[in-house]
Amino acid sequence: MREALLEVDNVTLRFGGVVALNQVDFTLYKGEILGLIGPNGAGKTTCFNAMTGVYRPTEGEIRFGGQRISGKRRYQITKMGIARTFQNIRLFPEMSALENVMVGADAHHRTGALSAMLRLPRHWKEERSGRDRAHDLLRFVGISRPGEQARNLSYGEQRRLEIARALATNPQLLCLDEPAAGFNPAEKDALNQLIRKVRDSGVTVLLIEHDMRLVMGVTDRIVVLEFGKKIAEGTPAEVRENPAVIAAYLGVPTDAS
């Protein structure tokens, strides 16, 4: 029996009269790469936001490592071990690539204002280890100019920098929100490799993505949402054959009626 890391337990999320998520229910197991797909407006990002504490479920709950997430502040959820990237890149544009990653690494640092002010040993120790970790992560995602301001990096580098920054928080779960948007095929292949490398380093990955080739190629299991409801779940091969999924993506032929 595999160990559950994140449990989405019958989550419903309403905005006024709009039901964005309708009794969504799935489990993410430790060490896997799970894909979350669905047509536009299916509720993928909403589901994602609920998991990272941006929205609070109207009904049901989300548990991470057995602990309830709802009601926790967003930075606490990060410290619990869930990290994420953003669909539209949200780096700190005027900070260097290295500093961006160091902000992530600070999430598990304990230097307080006083020891920073007086430069106590803990400050130096954490500053050094944070910098080393940031350099390692930049190498890991393949960014060669650590001193460059984030805004001056290329689009692909910015996307990868977001991944490095998220990994710096030492997550157990990394959630990627459309990381391949705007990528060419070669970049998508590189991303595929990177996602596998992340998983092999012991981090569970949740992937939201439109690009079917990438999703089918990299994930272990896939959950399909449509209109806020889960319509299918299974391995890429199973999902590809699932009639409900095909209908959702391609539409049901009208002449059938």
Binding site: Y75, E94, T111, Q149
Partner: protein, 394 residues
């Protein structure tokens, strides 16, 4: 921040687009940063010695037209240093954390009144309410004043720092006015407009060569006290800026939501900036009370809050050096101009027009150089980004 400092090539590249700057200034800056560590320490040391020597007549009379001609140099220097201290404190709140605080003088008032209440023999806290058996010394009162100012910062910041932008400005403005009106309208503790007299000078026992108490008529010792405080505060604040605390502030300024999702407790860091600002404001108030020997509500006008803010913005918010330059110009220049008018034989006192001139300068600055005279590079380009966004959306 921490790392960028060492990444020289990237730095140089940043400098080029960050802000249009005079060629000579650029060259001087890069020459300074390329100097060996020892040379830079020596340079900084020389500047500090110069600043300590500055109020002595035998020193400044050799400085051509730099000293003020019409007013006592030591007094002007004290006031300038005092103003610089206020600007350094406000810079933490406005420049580092990006919080618009218009109530900074409220904390100044808290610091000043706390010192007056616990040190003056006339204070009602001692005479009427018997909270203290005897007045304590100024030196002992300063930490109390700083602590209470800081606590009042936390109490005000707690509920209000969840507000952003203009709302925060209005709430803090209200706070400063509340303190001032309370002080002026109620007889209770603070004696209304009559104020609290007989606040002791810092170290009453010390005598100078002529047998007068050192901290009495002469402004020099006060200048030295404030200068020392400024140096200490600048070192501490700079250390913070170059640590995870400073990184968190930049992250909050640039994208508050992303910062929080990356594990930054944004509320805590904003509150920290606010509390540090309040503490420095309170410290300034404590020094002020010790120098004046008397305080009442008239000492805490709204204009002062705005003048400090204007000095920080003029100098360049987010850069400690910029705040110091801005405050020095804002205070020293009008006093210097007063004397210059006499030197050139003008029949009017040009410093009478200082507020008018200052207003014009601010307007011109906001059009041509909104990031200030000596801005924080990062903040300057944040400014430019925002302008581009506005232009794109318009």
């Amino acid at each position: 921040m921490t790392n960028g400092e060492h990444a020289t090539p990237a730095r140089a590249a940043n400098g080029e687009h960050a802000a249009p700057r005079a060629r000579g200034w650029q060259a001087m800056k890069s020459r300074w940063s390329e100097m060996p560590q020892g040379m830079r320490w020596a340079g900084t040391g020389a500047l500090v010695v110069f600043l300590y020597l500055l109020p002595n007549r035998w020193f400044y009379e050799y400085l051509w037209y730099l000293p003020t001609q019409a007013s006592d140099m030591a007094t002007v220097l004290f006031e300038t240093a005092f103003f610089v201290l206020l600007a350094v404190g406000l810079n933490v709140v406005v420049g580092f954390a990006g919080l618009l605080d218009l109530g900074y003088f409220g904390f100044f008032a808290v610091g000043a009144y706390v010192v007056a209440l616990v040190t003056s023999p006339e204070s009602k806290a001692i005479v009427e309410y018997n909270w203290l058996a005897d007045p304590i010394t100024w030196v002992a009162a300063v930490p109390i004043a700083v602590a209470i100012a800081m606590v009042s910062g936390v109490i005000l910041g707690g509920p209000t720092l969840r507000l952003r932008g203009d709302y925060l400005a209005i709430v803090t403005l209200g706070f400063a006015e509340m303190i001032r009106l309370y002080a002026s309208r109620t007889e209770g503790l603070l004696n209304g407009d009559r104020g609290i007299p007989d606040v002791p000078h810092p170290v009453p026992g010390v005598k100078d060569a002529t047998g007068d108490s050192l901290f009495l008529f002469d402004a020099k010792p006060y200048y030295w006290v404030v200068l020392t405080i400024i140096i200490a505060v600048v070192v501490l604040v700079r250390n913070m800026e170059r640590s995870r605390v400073g990184r968190a502030w930049v992250a909050i300024r640039e994208d508050e939501d992303a910062a929080e999702i990356m594990g930054v407790n944004t509320f805590k860091y904003k509150l920290l900036a606010f509390a540090i600002g309040a503490a420095i404001g309170g410290l300034s108030g404590a020094v002020f009370a010790g120098k004046q020997g008397f305080i009442n509500s008239a000492s805490f006008q709204l204009e002062s809050s705005i003048l400090v803010l204007a000095a920080v913005i003029l100098g360049g918010a987010g850069n400690i050096g910029g705040a110091i330059v801005g405050a020095t110009i804002t205070w020293y220049l009008p006093e210097w101009v007063r004397g210059m008018g006499k030197v050139f034989g003008l029949s009017f006192d040009p410093s009478e027009y200082r507020i008018l001139a200052f207003g014009l300068v601010i307007i011109v600055m906001m059009i041509f150089r909104p990031q200030g005279i000596w801005p924080n590079k990062r903040r300057a380009s944040e400014f430019a980004d925002r302008r581009k966004e506005v232009a794109a959306n318009a």
